[in-house]
Symmetry: C2
Subunit: 324 residues, 2 copies
């Protein structure tokens, strides 16, 4: 679709938005690793099937961390066998070290994701390594993965703020990003891990990064903890960012309490993108079906707003037609 066919894709205050945006789905990994109850592998596969059926093309399905750390994802190999390969879909997984990479390779994955924190305190708490140690490890994994013919994505967390240190200097973010890109990752996902980002700050962070890193290498991983995920994402789109991380129904992303929000909900992102004439290749109605499955599997309502509105609207229609 070019600008002529799509009156909403023309420049204005928002500037020229990308014609197409990729959604990188993190629900099965980031979402389910935060659940207290471990889901049966076949249920995880069912959720992934529904995401693929909705047209999602990039899905992080699991993590090859030690089962001691995250027992919820101990079935990584079995899950990948169950879901198999899908035409045009790239499955990826978190890989913390060379051992994890070896498992990911043996499971036939084409893509691995490494992760670093932009805050020393968060890095120590999360993986018991300094930033420098974590960077050395991520570089080692990246080089080995590229050597094995895989592509590598990087996550940088706490970019908008750290729960222990507060604000994180942008210069440090730029420095870490440059090192990861130099190591050979194809994309860097900037994470607002605790959901404290606001649009002016997003603008500042992107402005500093774009002096050193091409925009197509950047993705935004915004949390909706305080309702600002889409507003922040919009700043990114307006700056040319073409990948948004999101999670079905808003699953995961360390919400503070049941009912509180974590990750940006995939449906909310896709609704906004389609409303602006930006293509995603995703079917919003089928995404709602996937969200419903996610709710059924974890046994509670998710925080995604589009999902709740769509399910509420359907219920209303059903009760109306039951009366007539």
């Amino acid at each position: 679709m070019d600008t002529k066919e799509n009156p909403r894709a023309r420049p204005g205050w928002l500037g020229q938005l990308p014609k197409r945006v990729d959604v990188y789905e993190v629900g099965p990994r980031d979402g389910l690793q935060n659940e207290l109850r471990t889901l049966p592998t076949r249920d995880k596969a069912r959720l992934i099937d529904a995401l693929v059926a909705a047209g999602e093309k990039r899905i992080e399905v699991t993590s090859f961390v030690s089962p001691k750390w995250i027992p919820q994802l101990a079935d990584a190999e079995e899950l990948l066998r169950l879901v198999g390969r899908r035409e045009g879909v790239v499955f990826s997984a978190l890989v913390p070290n060379l051992k994890g990479l070896q498992r990911a390779r043996e499971a036939g994955l084409e893509e691995a994701a490494v992760f670093i924190s932009a805050s020393e305190a968060h890095s120590k708490k999360n993986i018991n390594k300094s930033i420098a140690e974590a960077l050395a490890g991520a570089r080692e994994v990246t080089v080995a993965a590229l050597h094995a013919g895989m592509r590598v994505r990087g996550y940088l967390s706490t970019v908008w703020g750290c729960p222990y240190e507060g604000e994180v200097p942008v210069a440090r973010v730029v420095d870490i990003c440059r090192q990861l890109v130099d190591a050979g990752i194809y994309q860097l996902s900037l994470g607002d891990t605790i959901g404290v980002g606001t649009p002016r700050q997003t603008e500042e962070i992107l402005e500093a990064l774009l002096k050193h890193i091409p925009v197509e290498k950047l993705a935004l991983h915004m949390h909706d903890t305080r309702g600002t995920a889409l507003a922040n994402a919009l700043v990114g789109l307006s700056a040319g960012v073409t990948t948004l991380d999101a999670s079905i129904g808003g699953l995961g992303g360390c919400p503070y309490a049941p009912g509180a929000a974590g990750n940006l909900a995939t449906e909310d992102a896709v609704f906004m993108l389609h409303g602006m004439g930006v293509e995603t290749g995703i079917n919003l109605d089928k995404l709602v079906e996937a969200g419903e499955i996610a709710q059924e599997l974890i046994g509670r309502k998710l925080a995604g707003k589009y999902l709740q509105a769509a399910l509420g609207e359907r219920e209303k229609k059903a009760s109306r037609s039951a009366r007539t």
Copy 2:
């Protein structure tokens, strides 16, 4: 606060944001009129007290429509007697006709709000009048209110879309807005009544309106039904809009189902504004207290994300300190 003192208020992709934004609180009216259960007048007064304590300066407290239509707000006079006058705070109320205006005057209100729909079908369904009839009525009320020394605010609903007609032509929106402004309203609040707006559309609507109406006369009344309220509000701020309508905890705004979102939550708006260095005069912690009171009064969780995050964080801290 000027730009020099506030590094976040400088121009960039977002442009120069306003230094200060007024929040127009609609929770007590728009929120409570949608509740099935009528709250006792003293409970409504308690909620309004909490909003004033948080620093809110513009609060729509009730409606002078016929109690036959909205029994939840039949206690308008009694409520206004209970809350009295507050230094620096302007209370207002919805006024559908001259009879309502008379009641508002006798109750000592300084401000009235008239309302129009931008969609014929919605206007018919909502108030059983055509747009032309509703406009004539709103002009009549406005002239009488100005004559009585009151100021008048206008609401235009379904600007981003109508539940019966779908898309609403921007030219019609511009035409109605001009007529209301010509009649003497001091501010026009543009409503995304069903929460279908996305940022490019907001840009188009504002672009068309700003050719005819000064930006200081416009307010945005965004619904967060599909999660896009703050992204839309951001486009407005970037275009110079300095008033956002919001509702404590996201109360009201015709949510489809319990748990679904309606109005933009005041806390979410204030969090984003403060995060960008935009002043509101509102204390966010006290707003959370008001949100907690709102939840207590209506007996369920509200959809506001900041509120749920703040309450969840507090619970977590409390359970941590109980363990030590």
